[in-house]
Amino acid sequence: MSASPSTQTRRDWKALLTRHEMLLLYVLIAEWLFFYFAGTTTNRRGVVVGFGTLDRQFDILRHSCEIGLLALALTPVIITAGIDLSIGSLLGLCAILFGKLWHDGGLPIPVAAGLTLALGALAGGLNAILITALRLPPLIVTLGTYSLFRGLAEAITHGAITYTDFPASFLFVGQERWLGLPTQAWIFLGVALGVGLLVHRTTFGRAFRTIGFSPEGARYAGLPVARRLALVYVLAGLIAAIAAIIYTARLGQAKADAGTGYELFAITAVVLGGTSIFGGSGTVHGTLLGVAAIAVLKNGLACLPVVMRMNAAEEMSGLLTGALLLLALTAGVLPKILSRFRARHHAPAP
């Protein structure tokens, strides 16, 4: 009994429209419309201010680049059933190293940036070696490097030095627009395209999913599990270094506490985007939607009159992001729980 072609097509459409990413897209649109109507006002001089302005939209894009990059770095990691808690700290360490290379080392900006990228990849390599060569759990390894990287950043700066006075040509990357978009958005889109191609259009991406689904199975299938895993963590380090440079360019300063707590927002974005925390499945476009949902929430809240009066945009957005993560996780396992429940209650009578 095969379904007729028309019901088949209808079922395809239904499956497409109820996919996790599509659901997230609906939420994102609803969220955006809500803030558009609730967060846009006209001030006394008749100028439109708040969420609805184009400037604000560019601001959202500008501010979501660093967390977006970290989320992109984490997507392949989580697909392989791993985790990297150290990327926020690595962002801080790379920002400091970049500032030091440029300011104290006297290197030109492009050379300093190149070296920073190399050091970021090297730091990712440290995670990779510990995880693959010694087969240690990623959670505890990156917890250790989380502390180590942030500690090194603090030790290098004695907890006090901030590198500033970067040249305008460098600040262009973080504060100006190029071809209509904030400059760093182009870098972000480039990295997103690269990671998207890697995960969805190459055999590497397939290997990541296989490893996440079953590392043992991947080994029997002849995949070089250790090399693929190492690639994922080195890539995460490299992308964290890119994020560090963009962060420095946006704020015009490099501090040891750069990126504190970013790993949490990045993990939230990835999980919201439908990547399974147990590994084996996930998409890059889902992650991008997750990043957008969080960024719109954060900026939208800051525009609401109620929140502005309470001066609590930061806390509200953190609170809602945490709640959103719990909700997304619960929604992810609910079908499984329900079917188990149903199976128990419809068991045939003995």
Binding site: I140, V141, L143, G144, S147, G151, T268, A312, E314, L319
Partner: protein
């Protein structure tokens, strides 16, 4: 001897640090600062005991820092309203247990990974607290600090209570059935289930347990100062997890004991005062702690590799 090699090696490292301090900076051992150090670590020790249980069941709880802050502030507010200490203490423990039950429900009930669940509750609790309190301090009435005793007596009570607790729990983990259940679930949940243990129930109870201990630790911290800082628990989770892992409790579950966690905690706690006494800049503390964690896990990794060969 061979069975406890891992714990003994940490003890050896601790002894080496202490001997080194005795030679290069004998001032480290003057009684008053040493007692203050131990008092500061007493609440951490109580949370570390709970964390050891959680990690032995192959879970993790990184929301302890936020739970600690929430319990501290709530207990402080109750105390400031004139509640007697004997009522504030159970209230704080109960609040902690309640927060732990939320984690436990999500982890054991819905079978979600504990790292992500507790990450989410960590942020939700912390930001919720910030939202409500806006970083305000709570001033405590005089009779709360050191339980109304002299400072010396109060410190001795706190340190003594935490050590008694440690010994009792360590013995219970080894000799009481409930303690063995925790190991059984962490070693192999399926085998434990076939042996008649309910793994999800054990996991749920362990999360309640660490919540209650966090509430208790918050009270022990409350008694040390005249006011409550809303951020008092920040970073506690890392400190505790580091101590437990350094002490030889395997993150893969089922292995390790509380004595190891205790030694690990002491070793890490010595870093900061040792740096001060050796005139090394204190900014290195976090980096050194990170390096110690990595060293400990690398040692574990090399050991299991050798055993598997």
């Amino acid at each position: 001897m061979k069975r406890f090699f891992r714990e003994l090696s940490v003890l050896g490292a601790l002894a080496a640090v202490l001997v080194g301090m005795a030679i290069f900076a004998p001032a480290f051992f003057s009684p008053q600062p040493l007692l203050s150090l131990l008092t500061r670590e007493a609440p951490t020790l109580v949370v570390a005991c709970g964390m050891a249980c959680v990690i032995i069941t192959r879970q993790i709880d990184i929301s302890v820092g936020s739970m600690f802050s929430v319990c501290s502030v709530c207990a402080g507010l109750l105390a400031a309203r004139g509640w007697p200490l004997l009522l504030v203490l159970p209230a704080s423990v109960a609040l902690g247990a309640l927060l732990g039950a939320v984690n436990g429900l999500l982890v054991a009930g819905l079978r979600l990974p504990s790292i992500v669940v507790t990450l989410a509750t960590m942020v939700t609790l912390r930001q919720g607290l910030n939202l409500v309190r806006q970083g305000e301090f709570v001033n405590l009435p005089d009779r709360i600090q050191w339980f109304g005793l002299s400072q010396m007596a109060g410190q001795l009570v706190l340190v003594g209570a935490s050590v008694v607790f440690l010994v009792a729990l360590a013995l219970a983990m080894r000799h009481v059935a409930a303690g063995r259940f925790v190991y059984a679930v962490g070693t192999d949940a399926e085998a434990a289930r076939l042996a008649g243990i309910r793994p999800q129930l054990v996991t749920f109870l362990v999360f309640i347990f660490i919540g209650a201990l966090t509430g208790l630790a918050a009270m022990m911290n409350l008694a040390q100062s005249p006011q409550v800082q809303p951020l008092s628990g920040a970073g506690l989770e890392l400190k505790v997890i580091a101590a437990v892992v350094v002490g030889g409790v395997a993150i893969s579950g089922g292995r390790g004991n509380l004595w190891g966690a205790f030694t690990g905690l002491l070793l890490l706690a010595c870093v900061s005062p040792a740096l001060i006494h050796l005139h090394i800049e204190a900014y290195w503390e976090k980096a050194i702690q990170g390096a110690i964690i990595l060293l400990a896990v690398v040692a574990d990794g090399l050991r299991t590799r050798r055993l598997n060969r």
